[in-house]
Each structure stands twice: as structure tokens, then as C-alpha cells.
């Protein structure tokens, strides 16, 4: 028992590790330094242990203007902690930090500097989603960073076996769930701890949880888009068409995904490797499809968010950072990011045309048709939205959203009630922080 005290101390951050288990976003690109008179030295903080350093080495070798030093952090949470502390202490602040939280959070805390001038100079290197994601209130506070477009993989064998059409709209998705249920098959999995499915669907439905109106925030967690998204999930939950496996229990999760009892799951390119390792029975049964659309959508849109890397206030070499970031879009940089052990590369989702690289990120023997899967992944990337404003106090309200989502998935409350509760929480938190806002009617 004596240990419990010491352990508690470690718990503070230690255990955030565990909450991090569900985090799926924020694989922002690593960032770097830039050019100036003579060699400029800049420091990068990130948690890319596999290839962070070798990319930086390649960059240092490729040119003489900027010298980059990569400081490896233990994790996303660790980066946030260390960075927050460094800013607090006002010393040892790096020039480029891998995005550990939504960009607006960085701006509100006074962490990210305005780099509009630098980004606009090389905007043509990046796709629209990447540029959109780097802006807050019309200014660039982040570096253009690719959002991983969501697509969905279906167990084609299961669909064929029960003669169910692969849905293309969310209404069809619910219908497919109803058709599969009598066979003991769930249409998908909704983890109770991970509200990101809801955030993605709301983004796709055009929801706007936070908007800027002059000098105040307009908060709206119950707009038409959010309610449309909530309605899809509410039907799935009410009719018991989904499972609620947790990401914490990975063996169980993979076993269940692999069992043929789960028909589909939305995902992004970097999850495929893990699925391939975990799926022993269903390998080769899967196919990739565009994510279902809302029936009234004018054009297909793909949800996808990112937490862009940014240049902290106090860094004096934003040009050097931009030079490094631009270099990351080159074929040499992508090649430098190849993992020596697995042979895998990072999919450069920020560039205009990532198609030439897609073949490299498709795991072997997983899809029934690898070429078609590659095309779907590229297509998802072309229509990705990128931007979803999460307001000035994301860190505060996200745990509340988690709580409410958990209750809704367990059937204790409806999703509409959940979103109303989150909205109230956001309002009271903004109030206490002294930030102006209105709640939209």
C-alpha cells in the first residue's frame, strides 16, 4: 500500500496514457526548420520514433541552409505536457511541434504563431483539405497537414453470404444492419469510449459546432447536421444493430472483427496494417468502399480531421520551418520516411496527388482486390473535408462528450440529450473562462 502514494504521483500523466488508447487522429506530419542566412538550427518535437530522426537526417543532408534536430517525445500526451511546461517556463521552446491537439486550442493558448505569410508562399504544394485544416479564423496558424480521409472496409464474404448489398448511403447502412441482424451479424462497432465516430459523421453531415461571428463564438451542438448524424446512430443503438467492443481489449476486438460477425468498419489508411496482423481468418475477405453518404448531399464528402503541426510563439525561424515542411512533400522525403524494418512509408496525405504512393500502404493479402482498394483510398483523400472547428476549449469539453457518448451508446440517454448536455457544458466552460459566445437557437 505504501506504493499507492508514489504511484499516484506517477498516475497523473501516466494514466493519461491509457485514455489515449482510443485516440485515432493526430498523426500529423512531422515538421521542420527553414532557410535563412547561413545554416539556421531549429528543434522539432514529435513522437515519431520510427522515422522522425531519419527524415530529419535526410533533410539535413539535402541542403545546407537549415539544420534540424529531432527531439523524440514519449507520446502525444507527453508532447503536450512537455510543451505546455516549456511555454509556462518560457524557455527551451522548439520551432516546430507535432500537433497534439486541435489547432484552435493552440491559438487560444497563445502557443501557435501566425505563419500566413510563409504558408501562402508555397500553398500550391498542398491539397485543399490540408490548407483548410491549417487555418483558424482565416489565418494560417498551422502547417498544411493532411487529413486522413475516412473510407470503409466491409467483409465482402459476410455481405455475399447473406445476400446484402453494400450500402452507399447512411439510410441504406441502417437497412443493411436490419437485414444482417437476424443472422447474428452487427453492421459495425461503436466503442463507448470513442465519440470520434459521431464527430466524423457530424462533420460529414455539415455540422458546425463552433463558428466565429465577429468577436464571439457561436456554439451549436444541435444543428441539423449533428442531428442527422445522431439520428443514424440512434437507430443503430435503439435497434441493437451494432456491438460495443472497447479498443482497450484489443485481442477481443480483433477476434470479433475477424469473426465475420461484424460486417463493416470505417477506417483510415494507417489502421490497415494492424488489422492485417490481427485478422487470421478473414484475410482476403475485405473490400474498401467509399464511406456512405447522406442522401441529400450535393456532392460526396469524406470526413477526416487532423491536428496540424504548428510553429510556437517565440520561434524566430518560421521560414526555416516552412522550408522543411515544403521539403516533406518531395519524393525524396517520402522515401526517407520508409521504415527500414517493415518497408512501409507514410502516406503523404497533404500533397496534391498522393496516388503514386498508395500501393505502398495497402497491406498484402488483406483485400480481395488490392488495386480497387487503393483507388478508394485515393478517392477518399480527394474529397476529404479537413476542417472541423472544435472551438477554443476542446480539451475541456472532449471528456464531457466522451461521458455523454458513453451513456448514449449504453442506451441510458438519447444522443440528442447527450448533445444538449455537451452544449450546456461548453457554454458554462466558456463563461468561466471569460470567452464571449452565444448558443445558436
Amino acid at each position: 500500500m505504501m506504493r499507492s502514494r508514489a504511484r499516484w504521483a506517477t498516475a497523473g500523466l501516466a494514466v493519461t496514457a491509457l485514455t489515449g488508447l482510443t485516440a485515432c487522429s493526430s498523426t500529423g506530419a512531422s515538421a521542420g526548420p527553414a532557410e535563412a542566412e547561413g545554416p539556421v538550427t531549429i528543434e522539432i518535437w514529435g513522437w515519431n520514433a520510427e522515422t522522425g530522426e531519419q527524415i530529419v537526417d535526410a533533410f539535413n543532408e539535402a541542403q545546407d541552409d537549415v539544420e534540424v534536430k529531432y527531439v523524440l517525445q514519449a507520446s502525444n500526451v507527453a508532447t503536450q505536457t512537455n510543451f505546455q511546461n516549456a511555454m509556462e517556463a518560457g524557455s527551451g521552446v522548439p520551432c516546430l511541434v507535432q500537433g497534439f491537439a486541435p489547432l484552435t486550442t493552440m491559438v487560444v493558448n497563445g502557443w501557435a504563431q501566425d505563419i500566413t505569410e510563409q504558408v501562402e508562399g508555397s500553398a500550391d504544394l498542398y491539397n485543399e483539405g490540408a490548407l483548410a485544416a491549417a487555418q483558424v479564423d482565416g489565418r494560417y496558424y498551422g502547417l498544411p497537414s493532411g487529413s486522413d480521409g475516412q473510407f470503409y472496409i466491409v467483409n465482402q464474404k459476410t455481405f455475399d453470404k447473406y445476400d446484402v448489398e453494400v450500402p452507399t448511403t447512411w439510410d441504406e447502412f441502417v437497412d443493411a444492419g436490419r437485414e444482417l441482424k437476424p443472422h447474428g451479424v452487427d453492421i459495425t462497432n461503436l466503442a463507448g469510449e470513442d465519440p470520434s465516430s459521431l464527430m466524423n459523421l457530424a462533420q460529414q453531415a455539415g455540422a458546425e459546432w463552433f463558428a466565429i461571428d465577429g468577436d464571439q463564438w457561436v456554439v451549436n451542438f444541435t444543428d441539423d447536421g449533428t442531428l442527422a448524424a445522431a439520428d443514424v446512430f440512434q437507430q443503430l443503438i435503439d435497434e441493437d444493430l451494432v456491438s460495443n467492443q472497447t479498443y482497450m481489449d484489443k485481442p477481443a476486438l480483433l477476434k470479433y472483427f475477424d469473426s465475420g460477425k461484424m460486417a463493416s468498419v470505417t477506417t483510415q489508411w494507417w489502421s490497415l496494417g494492424g488489422y492485417q496482423v490481427g485478422f487470421t481468418d478473414s484475410a482476403g475477405d475485405w473490400s474498401a468502399h467509399p464511406i456512405p453518404q447522406f442522401a441529400d448531399a450535393a456532392a460526396p464528402v469524406t470526413p477526416g480531421r487532423t491536428a496540424p503541426s504548428f510553429v510556437p510563439e517565440g520561434c524566430e525561424e518560421p521560414d526555416a520551418v516552412m522550408a522543411y515542411t515544403d521539403w516533406l512533400t518531395t519524393p525524396e522525403a517520402v522515401e526517407a520516411g520508409r521504415n527500414a524494418e517493415t518497408g512501409a512509408i507514410g502516406f503523404p496525405t497533404q500533397i496534391q496527388d498522393p496516388a503514386p504512393y498508395v500501393e505502398e500502404v495497402i497491406p498484402k493479402d488483406f483485400f480481395a482486390d488490392e488495386k480497387a482498394a487503393g483507388e478508394e483510398i485515393v478517392a477518399a483523400q480527394e474529397t476529404v473535408i479537413g476542417k472541423f472547428e472544435l472551438g477554443p476549449n476542446y480539451d475541456a469539453w472532449f471528456p464531457e462528450l466522451q461521458d455523454q457518448w458513453g451513456k448514449a451508446v449504453a442506451g441510458k440517454i438519447t444522443l440528442e440529450e447527450a448533445m444538449t448536455a455537451v452544449e450546456e457544458f461548453v457554454a458554462s466552460d466558456l463563461e468561466s473562462k471569460g470567452i464571449s459566445y452565444t448558443v445558436a437557437e
Binding site: G12, A74, T81, S91, L254, K255, G273, T280, E341
Partner: protein, 313 residues
């Protein structure tokens, strides 16, 4: 507030310190009589076996898990072996990220070793001083020590960080070693032991021989307190071996990390990137636990008769 003293255990500690060999023999004689006999002996044994299984069972799983590759880990029965993949896992562990795991192990040995040594010295001196001398402020010291047990850990993180940056300790190995050297619980332990293990008569005798107070402490007190010292050393060594929140905040680059922070970072990696290092983490956990088990067994003679905490008074 009544006074639960620990006259008997304190006396025993003192005796152990002085004549460990003899006391053990004596205890053996007694216990051979005290032992349960016949049927009750089997009950005792049965319950002990059940509880030992409870303690060790999950570790058996860990032992089995490190012999499997990632896929088997997720897909085969956790309590029995599948293909034997241990050597491969060990190879991966020591070569991953240019073999940084060995570096982390070494760092941990340095941090835990130096920190525990320093703490042991500081705590023994303070505990001995509090137990064996009467002076103004002694009560206040004890009050501070006991009150500090109540401080919630999270309260300390941010202010400590600012402090360390100002002291120039941030991102140095001293940030790992120095703060741990002033643990109040260890001082408390040392005081309890010193009350029992250092007879005032001996100190008086030494004084009559003309020894100064410091000399008495270094030449006699430390020797008499070796059991206490070993206990304090072990407890802190285990705690600092396992800690990773402190280094996470106070060390910047991976080169300086201790092993648990490294394990933590690998574990985290699996959740938000393309790679899943669970197998490596399990293997690393097992390997990094081994030095501690070895140390515990090597120092067994100091804790075989248990750890004496005494009472709060």
C-alpha cells in the same frame, strides 16, 4: 491520541542488526515448534498455494505471452504456449530503434541506484537525528513529514517543473536523482528503526570514549542501521525503477529515458500510429522486471523477516 509503541519489534530489529546470524537460528528453533501440525498444516499450505496462484497467475500469462509473436498473442490461448518465438522477440527488443532498450536499462540502473543510495544516506541521517536527539523543531520536523504524506501528487507537477527550469535541473540526470533523495516516508522509516536499533547506552559509551556525534553516527549508527538502510534502499529502488511520470515531464530526449518511460512510449505508439508494439512492450516489461527480482532475492536477508514500519506516534 494514544501511543501505540512498538517496543517488541523495535527491539527485534535492533537485535537483528547486531547479530543477524544468531537471531535467525533462534527464530528457526522457535518456529519449528510454533509451526502448524497435521491437518491444519495442509489447510495452511492449501490457502497459501491458492493465494500464491492468485499473485503469480497473471505473471504466468506474461511469461507465456513473451514467447509468442504478435499475431499469436492476439489469437491463441493466453495461458499456454504456441510457437516458441522468444528469441525472435528478444532480438527485436534489443535491436529496435538501434537498440535503445539497453540504453534505457542502463539509465534506469543509474537513476534508481544513485537516487536510492543518496536517499538512504539522507534518510538514515535524518531519521537517526530525529530519533536519538531532543532539540527544538524536532516536533515540527515530524509534523511536516507526516503532513507531507497527504499531498496529492498532481499538485506538484507544474510548480516543480517551473522550479527545475529555474534551478537548471530540467533535462539533466539530476532531475531524476535529486528530488527523490528527500522522501519523507523514508525518513519516517529510518526514525522508527533508529529508535529500536541504536541503543542510547552505546552512544553514551562512545561519547565517554571521546567520539564526536558525527563520528558516532558514521562509525556506529550507520552500521546498526544497515537493515533499515537496505529496506529504504530497496523500497525506493523499486519505486524509482517503475516510475515514468516524473521522467516524462522532466527529461526531453529519448536518450535519457528510463526503461518504464520507454515501455510507455512504445505502448502509446500502438494506439495512434501504424505500428503495434505490444509484443515488444511485453517482452521489455518482463526483461526489465528481472533485475528487480534478482535484487530482491539477493538482498533477501534484509527483508526475509519482513519490513518493520512501526507505528505513527
Amino acid at each position: 491520541m494514544s501511543d501505540t509503541t512498538l517496543v517488541p519489534d523495535a527491539a527485534a530489529v535492533g537485535e537483528t542488526a547486531r547479530k543477524p546470524g544468531r537471531r535467525r537460528r533462534r527464530a528457526d528453533e522457535y518456529s519449528s515448534v510454533a509451526e502448524a501440525r497435521g491437518a491444519s498444516r495442509w489447510v495452511v499450505l492449501g490457502v497459501l498455494v491458492a493465494l500464491a496462484l492468485y499473485a503469480v497467475g497473471p505473471l504466468w500469462w506474461l511469461l507465456v505471452a513473451v514467447t509468442k509473436n504478435q499475431r499469436e498473442l492476439y489469437t491463441t490461448n493466453g495461458l499456454w504456449f504456441s510457437q516458441f518465438n522468444l528469441w525472435q522477440n528478444l532480438g527485436d527488443l534489443f535491436t529496435y530503434q538501434d537498440g535503445i532498450f539497453s540504453r534505457w536499462l542502463w539509465n534506469t540502473v543509474v537513476y534508481a541506484g544513485l537516487g536510492s543510495l543518496g536517499l538512504t544516506l539522507v534518510a538514515l541521517a535524518a531519521g537517526y537525528g530525529i530519533a536519538k536527539y531532543r532539540y527544538r523543531g524536532r516536533g515540527l520536523t515530524m509534523g511536516l513529514i507526516i503532513a507531507s504524506f497527504l499531498i496529492p501528487g498532481s499538485l506538484m507537477v507544474v510548480p516543480s517543473f517551473i522550479l527545475f527550469v529555474n534551478l537548471g535541473l530540467y533535462d539533466t540526470i539530476w532531475a531524476m536523482i535529486l528530488p527523490g533523495m528527500f522522501g519523507s516516508f523514508s525518513v519516517y522509516l529510518a526514525k522508527v528503526y533508529a529508535e529500536g536499533a541504536v541503543p542510547t547506552e552505546l552512544m553514551e559509551a562512545a561519547r565517554i570514549d571521546g567520539a564526536g556525534e558525527y563520528r558516532i553516527f558514521f562509525s556506529m549508527g550507520l552500521r546498526l542501521l544497515s537493515t533499515a538502510g537496505a529496506t529504504i534502499f530497496l523500497l525506493h529502488f523499486v519505486a524509482s525503477w517503475n516510475t515514468f511520470m516524473w521522467p516524462l515531464v522532466f527529461l526531453k530526449g529519448a536518450e535519457k529515458w528510463p526503461v518504464m518511460l520507454g515501455m510507455y512510449s512504445w505502448l502509446q505508439r500502438g494506439t495512434d500510429s501504424t505500428v503495434d508494439l505490444t509484443s515488444l512492450v511485453l517482452t521489455g516489461s518482463l526483461i526489465s522486471t528481472i533485475p528487480m527480482v534478482v535484487l530482491m532475492i539477493a538482498m533477501q536477508r534484509y527483508w526475509r523477516s519482513g519490513v518493520t514500519l512501526g507505528s505513527l506516534k
